[in-house]
């Protein structure tokens, strides 16, 4: 690698370098801070992410391959990186007060989030199975630790342990698939893989490899049958981390899935049938099991499984519209999910946990504004217009029907009618019950800002989707 190529590569990965350097500096700085000064870390972390966002924006003009084909800075990656920045910054804002209440406001918390962010960014840009693996591991190792951050709580510890063990198994499966691919094609680069296969794409060895890789990846997005870890981890982790995990790592997983699945090799191996089955089963399981949940975080965990299922329908559709629909879906899903988690996080104050749905009975009476926001997020998650959640689903359906998968579209909407039931059940609890207690939400300015931003996004994209749709369409790789 020449010096010029190295420089070009470093330039292409400047945002990742910024985040990792920033995280390292904050790690040292965090040790020098005295107690009570830790709020500084929040703003410093936000600043790091903003600088990275600026760097991403400045490099967004052209496609930059880097590190001899292992990494690429293209518009597809830029789109996902902005979803990650959004998720991370909003998590920082939500964490400020919550970390104090739970007593987890040490510097490692923020540093680990930044490292997780860099892992996700590498995943979005990776074009080689090995660089995918590096990004993936960087991200999940941080989230393992963050899940167990409530050291005094058994639930949190249990969740972290489960997550580590299952996560390690899935990573192993993924790596085994990668090794098979290397053995059969002599390369791990996504583009070179397709070129190396000249014979029958349905070679049983390759098919096996693809199945292993698929299994490893769908674990990360929590799709059935690799979803078992998700409800326990979501319930046990600190709520801010649950919010982060249901948005950031999930979107990163989809970024990789889109790159890998829509690779000519995978596309040729009829893997879409497996993916379609996964989509249907995932959505069905998420929707039906969520019906009987009483714990709000668990319900949101199953709801996130159901949403992952719906997004996978977009992967099944494939093509430019299919990819763009998944991307738009993830952006919109991030906004409404962070919004609703924002409210759950804010309700956690004093001895009030806000974890069961019953805790929210009669919220509309004392806090009509908050209730209205919940109403907005919930109807958006249910996919009722004019919210953004409707447009997200609509575009996935358009992509499905465009490819002739009308039956899949029918299944998708019927299952989303099932899912609507548990969202409007929460609306019912909030609006149609009498309050049983006095609510005292921790309404700090940073939480208010998060809610305002996500609400504006949820209603704004719903009413004026044209610009965001265009953004997703031009970000589809190759275009």
């Amino acid at each position: 690698m020449t010096a010029a190529a190295l420089f070009q590569s470093a330039l292409a990965s400047l945002p990742e370098i910024v985040v990792i350097t920033g995280a390292c500096i904050l790690l040292i700085l965090g040790q020098l801070l005295r107690k009570g000064q830790q709020h500084f870390l929040v703003w410093a972390s936000v600043a790091v992410v903003l600088i990275a966002a600026l760097a991403t924006l400045m490099l967004a003009g052209e496609v930059r391959p880097a590190y001899t084909g292992m990494f690429i800075a293209d518009r597809f990656a830029v789109f996902f990186k902005f979803v990650f920045y959004l998720a991370t910054i909003l998590t920082f804002l939500l964490s400020r007060k919550y970390a104090d209440i739970e007593g987890i406001g040490s510097s490692e918390y923020y540093v680990l989030l930044l490292f997780a962010l860099s892992g996700m960014m590498i995943m979005a840009s990776a074009t080689d199975l090995l660089s995918i693996y590096v990004g993936l591991e960087l991200m999940v190792l941080c989230t393992y630790v963050l899940t167990g951050f409530l050291r005094q709580e058994r639930r949190s510890n249990e969740a972290a342990l489960k997550y580590v063990i299952l996560g390690a198994v899935s990573t192993g499966i993924f790596l085994y698939g990668v090794s098979l691919v290397y053995g059969l094609t002599g390369t791990t680069q996504l583009d070179a893989m397709a070129a190396a296969v000249t014979g029958d794409p349905l070679d049983p060895g390759l098919l096996l490899a693809v199945v292993f890789i698929v299994a490893g990846l769908v674990f990360k997005v929590g799709a059935v049958p690799f979803h078992m870890w998700l409800p326990d981890v979501y319930e046990g982790a600190p709520t801010t981390i649950t919010a982060f995990m249901s948005v950031g790592p999930k979107a990163a997983g989809f970024a990789v899935i889109l790159r890998v699945f829509l690779n000519p090799l995978v596309a040729a191996s009829d893997v879409w049938i497996i993916v379609a089955v996964i989509a249907v089963v995932t959505m069905a399981l998420g929707s039906f099991v969520a019906l009987v949940q009483d714990n709000f975080k668990r319900l949101l965990a199953y709801s996130s499984i159901a949403h992952a299922g719906f997004a996978i329908f977009g992967v099944v559709a494939g093509g430019a519209d299919g990819i763009a629909s998944v991307m738009l879906y993830l952006l919109i899903y991030s906004l409404m999910t962070l919004g609703i988690f924002g409210i759950v996080i804010m309700m956690r104050n004093g001895d009030f946990s806000g974890e069961t749905i019953e805790d929210y009975a009669g919220l509309a009476k004392s806090h009509p504004g908050l209730a209205l926001l919940m109403l907005l997020y919930l109807f958006s998650l249910a996919g009722i217009p004019p919210t953004a959640g409707f447009f997200a689903k609509f575009y996935v359906l358009v992509a499905l029907v465009e490819r002739g998968f009308v039956m899949l579209a029918v299944i998708a909407v019927l299952l989303s009618a099932v899912a609507a039931y548990f969202y409007i059940r929460i609306v019912m609890v909030i609006y149609m019950r009498e309050p049983e207690r006095v609510f005292d939400p921790a309404l700090t300015p940073s939480v208010r800002a998060t809610l305002a931003f996500t609400a504006a996004g949820t209603i704004g994209i719903g009413l004026f989707p044209a610009w965001f749709l265009r953004l997703a369409q031009v970000s589809v790789f190759g275009g």
Partner: protein, 491 residues
């Protein structure tokens, strides 16, 4: 670009709702809501004054790109058919505010905001010329209606609200898939007029016909997907019932008129016998159920199923008299049944019982109330001189021309109507005094009169001189019929 009158009519209630959010006093909220609905009605009358009844073309059209990448536009416009329902919606909106004046005594602001939001969305449904826009309005109505039933309803409100929401949602989601399939088969556009001009293969038309049927049949409602209606009606507050019966049920029939018939003419003709049979079933079955009710609101609710059967019968008779009768009957049913729900609400506010057995001899206690009740009851059973007579006569003559058996069933249904309505009136108003004698019942006051009188005027106006109303729809209906017959006779 001309003055965007339709946008103003549609979004005025939204602006009004936004203003309401900042008011603190309940009375101020009520008066502001009333002012907004009066202004909206005035704008509708202004629109009708400028409406050209000699053309079937869309009028007052507005068109702006919305999501150009998918060919979605923000397009509004009305023809004769929608003009009638825009007016009906604005009229009933005003009456709903009056009907909720004292009946809603908690969370008044939230209620009025929901009511105005509902009105904007309903007006949007009738004005939309883009299928995507139509769907957004259509589906968004679930949110305020769910709250109106679920928050301000009776004891079983939560169950009723869930049932309403899920039935309608399941129906409309299949409709959504139908819309997307239509989009790809009709040249990647959501423009309703452009889609109307397409010739789709019969196979596609058939599938779409049933996808649309599910959504519209739930809304109408047609037997056997009618079971949400009695629950929703009984539990909803008076204004909710008026909206449901007056406008929401019309949207299903409007969907048939705007989408099924013009876009799927071959399938509509092919399956018209099935539709006539379902309509006849609804007429007779709804009538029989109404006959067995003791609850006043349930009786009116089941009578709605029967009356909406007449509407769909008229539409799928696919001849001029049937169609005009069906559309006129949609308007009439909105006025008459809206009034009947208003009357049930008025008496319930005074006695807190809806059981027919608790009433008797109301005539002595509240003569004005019973006199008007008589008018609307007679209108509902289509006595000559009232509005429904004209509508039902047209439907029956159209129905007999299309299918003898369906016509006969409709006549039987009309007889049933006379039986349950006269039976109800006899028990409530005549006979020995029951509740009416024991308690002192206040007769209607000026505010209530203000809600009743406009409806009474329309009952008699349409009944005695229907020409202006038929004129509004005439050209559009003739055009629609010619379109269906020329395109649908291919099979």
């Amino acid at each position: 670009m001309t003055f965007p009158l339709l946008s103003l009519i549609v979004f005025l209630p939204v602006a009004g709702a936004a203003v309401l959010m900042f008011l603190r006093n309940d009375d101020a909220v009520r008066w502001t809501a009333l002012g907004v609905t009066v202004l909206d009605l005035a704008l509708c009358i202004a629109m009708l004054a400028g409406f050209d009844t000699t053309t079937h073309e869309m009028q007052f059209t507005e068109r702006r790109p919305w999501v150009p990448a998918l060919g979605i536009t923000y397009a509004l416009g009305i023809d004769g058919i929608s003009a009638l329902f825009v007016f009906l919606t604005a009229l009933l909106g005003l009456i709903c505010v009056l009907a909720s004046w004292v009946a809603i005594d908690r969370k008044v602001k939230a209620f009025m905001v929901s009511l105005l939001g509902m009105q904007a969305l309903m007006l949007g449904v009738f004005c939309a010329l883009d299928l995507f826009l139509f769907y957004v309005f259509w589906e968004a109505m679930l949110i305020p209606m769910y709250l109106i039933i679920g928050v301000w309803g009776g004891d079983g409100r939560v169950y009723a609200a869930f049932k309403f929401f899920l039935y309608t949602l399941a129906g409309s989601l299949l409709f959504l898939i139908g819309v997307i399939v239509l989009y790809f088969n009709g040249g990647e556009t959501f423009d309703i007029l452009a889609l109307t001009a397409q010739d789709l293969p019969f196979r596609v038309q058939s599938w779409l016909f049933f996808a649309f049927l599910v959504a519209f049949a739930v809304k109408v409602p047609m037997v056997p997907v009618h079971t949400w209606l009695p629950d929703a009606h009984v539990q909803a507050p008076t204004a909710g019932s008026i909206i449901l019966a007056g406008v929401l049920l019309k949207m299903g029939a409007y969907g048939f008129l705007r989408f099924s018939l013009p876009m799927l003419p071959e399938a509509s003709m092919y399956y018209s016998t099935l539709m006539l049979a379902l309509s006849a079933l609804a007429i007779v079955y709804g009538g029989l159920l109404a006959l067995a009710q003791d609850d006043l609101k349930k009786l009116v609710a089941y009578s709605s199923i029967s009356h909406m059967g007449f509407v769909t019968l008229g539409i799928f008779a696919l001849n001029l008299r049937g169609l005009e009768g069906g559309i006129l009957q949609m308007f009439n049913h909105g006025v008459t049944t809206g009034a009947l729900f208003l009357f049930v609400g008025l008496i319930y506010e005074r006695t807190h019982t809806r059981s027919i057995a608790d009433y008797g001899g109301l005539m002595k206690a509240a003569p004005v109330y019973t006199a008007f009740l008589a008018l609307f009851t007679l209108s509902s059973m289509a006595l000559p001189g009232t509005n429904s007579f004209i509508g039902e006569l047209l439907v029956l003559s159209g129905g007999f021309a299309a299918n003898l058996a369906a016509g006969a069933a409709a006549v039987f249904g009309a007889l049933l109507g006379a039986a349950y309505l006269l039976g109800m009136y006899g028990k409530v108003a005549l006979g020995p005094a029951s509740v009416g004698g024991r308690y002192k019942i206040r007769d209607v006051n000026a505010r209530e009169m203000a809600a009743i009188l406009p409806l009474a005027v329309f009952v008699l106006w349409v009944g005695l001189y229907p020409k202006p109303f038929l004129n509004v729809i005439d050209v559009s209906v003739k055009h629609l019929l010619a379109h269906v017959q020329s395109k649908g006779s291919g099979q």
